[in-house]
């Protein structure tokens, strides 16, 4: 018999309940070297970024009538920028931000 310490147990076959919100077990935002930056003036809410983001990091905030970026999970692939119909999205290096990934001492 093998002994697996309690804190190291993994669910059978790695199947986990699907997260309804964010999967706290797998933060991926710290993989980023560039991040998309939105200019809300230019955005016409076409929703391309919401649809194309492979990690659902762009969501529509209906109350504010604008799309919102999730910095904890965005890997910086910039698919959103590529798909943006109005060029409202541009890329900026993480070094340019005070709380940028390259300056983090721990994962968010």
């Amino acid at each position: 018999m093998f002994v697996i310490p309690k804190e190291r147990e993994v669910p059978f076959a790695g199947v986990t309940p699907a997260p309804v919100g964010a999967q706290r077990m797998m933060i991926t935002g710290n993989w980023r070297t560039y991040r998309p930056v939105i200019n809300h003036e230019e955005c016409n809410l076409c929703m391309n970024c919401v649809i194309f983001c492979p990690d659902a990091c762009w969501q529509l905030n209906e109350a504010e009538d604008e799309v919102v970026w999730n910095y904890e999970f965005c890997k910086g692939c910039l698919v959103c920028m590529n798909e943006c119909t109005t060029n409202a999205l541009t890329k900026a290096h993480e070094l340019d931000f005070e709380g940028g990934v390259v300056r983090l001492e721990k994962l968010f």
């Binding site: 093998f2 697996i4 993994v10 076959a13 790695g14 699907a18 797998m26």
Partner: protein
């Protein structure tokens, strides 16, 4: 009470898959396995079999379709041969890691060196360490039976592993033999519907195959390793059940033929065992005490059974139909497993590899006679002449 028909190995496999009430089938053509898909496609088209028949755009897609379907809760079936088997290589470990009991038929074909299409076990044997069950059939009847046995073992909650159900291309896949087909009611009695642990349910959504960290990967490896420690017990139970319900006489792991007073044996898996049996009958008529030990599962490898059986003899000739270029004994992979199994045995027989049937050639009776001569000579001199013989290509001693 069932009926006896004459079927090729692929046709026998298709009957077993149909009687297993498979839900999703994914095909892609490559000979010789492809005949099983021709049969199954006909059954689906004729309304004999209620299954989703998906044509993949390649072997990688075949396995990926079955991966998803199995995760959703379907009983799945796919298959391939030769380079088709290796084209899908990436998918094998994720499927066994996800503990999905996908069943894949392999009708052996050589890996191109280049462009051979004969039967050789190297295609399947190259995948033996991917966490799938694996074993060979000698006849269409055994192929039929192995498909049902493997579904039952693989879907057992204590196992939950995918299965390579192998038969030699052409020698089994395309040569008709007598097959006893059971009644559907017997099959339903033996093989209950697949109960997936996480069926597709929008009310209970789950994530399959998530990204994990290295410290989680080791635990999942350990889970699979544990499953392989547990599976021999399940195989024994299932074979007992199968023998009882269908009136067969299978050993779970190793089958012995004419071994009661044997001094030397052939150790073999798959179709060429049939020729070996005939060779042994002729050799015994001439007074040579020779027998045969046939392996039914190479994964899990039945270490204790092989050690217990083979340690009774003076010399064992492992008839390999696959290569392990540059391996420890320079022959095929079976000899490595056999020697490892025997290492702690109280008495160890002499062992050697016979590379035979390579490239898809028939192993002729004369070649088995020659191998028997080499074994008899080894017993006489107390040591084997070589650890690997390429049968038909050895300079006269």
């Amino acid at each position: 009470m069932g009926k006896e028909v004459t079927l090729s190995g692929t046709a026998a496999a298709s009957q077993a898959v149909k009687m297993a009430r498979v839900d999703v089938i994914c095909s892609f053509p490559i000979r010789p396995y492809t005949a099983v898909m021709m049969e199954l496609a006909k059954m689906v088209a004729n309304g004999e079999l209620d299954a989703e028949f998906v044509h993949g755009e390649g072997e990688h897609a075949q396995l990926s379709v079955c991966y998803g379907a199995s995760a959703a809760g379907a009983r799945t079936f796919t298959g391939s041969s030769g380079v088709g088997v290796t084209y899908a290589f990436e998918t094998y470990s994720p499927i066994s890691g996800a503990r999905l009991p996908v069943q894949m038929m392999i009708a052996d074909r050589t890996l191109d060196p280049p462009g051979d299409f004969g039967s050789e076990h190297t295609d399947a044997m190259s995948c033996r360490d991917q966490g799938w069950l694996m074993g060979w059939a000698e006849t269409p009847q055994e192929a039929f039976d192995n498909h049902l046995i493997n579904y039952r073992v693989g879907e057992d909650p204590r196992v939950m592993l995918p299965q390579f159900v192998c038969q030699d291309g052409y020698f089994v896949s395309h040569l008709p033999g007598k097959v006893k087909l059971p009644d559907q009611a017997q099959v339903d009695d033996f093989l209950p519907p697949y109960k997936p642990p996480h069926p597709l349910d929008p009310k209970k959504p789950v994530s399959h195959g998530p990204q994990i960290r290295p410290d989680q990967g080791v635990i999942m490896d350990l889970q699979r390793a544990q499953a392989f420690l547990d599976v021999p017990k399940v195989i024994r139970e299932v074979i007992d059940d199968y023998n009882r319900i269908f009136g067969r006489n299978y050993s779970p792991f190793v089958e012995e033929y004419q071994t009661d007073d044997a001094e030397v044996v052939f150790f073999i898996q798959g179709a060429h065992a049939l020729t070996a049996r005939n060779a042994i009958r002729h050799l015994r008529a001439k007074g040579l005490k020779i027998g045969l030990v046939k392996l039914r599962f190479v994964r899990p490898f039945p270490t204790e059974e092989v050690a217990a059986v083979l340690s009774k003899f003076k010399a064992v000739g492992v008839v390999e139909t696959s290569t392990s270029y540059g391996g420890a004994m320079r022959g095929g992979n079976l000899l490595h497993e056999v020697r490892a199994a025997l290492y702690d045995a109280p008495s160890r027989p002499l062992t050697t590899s016979f590379m035979a049937g390579m490239g898809g050639e028939v192993i002729r009776l004369e070649e088995f006679y020659w191998m028997a001569e080499m074994l008899a000579a080894a017993v006489k001199s107390g040591k084997v002449g070589k650890y690997v013989y390429w049968v038909g290509f050895e300079a006269a001693a």
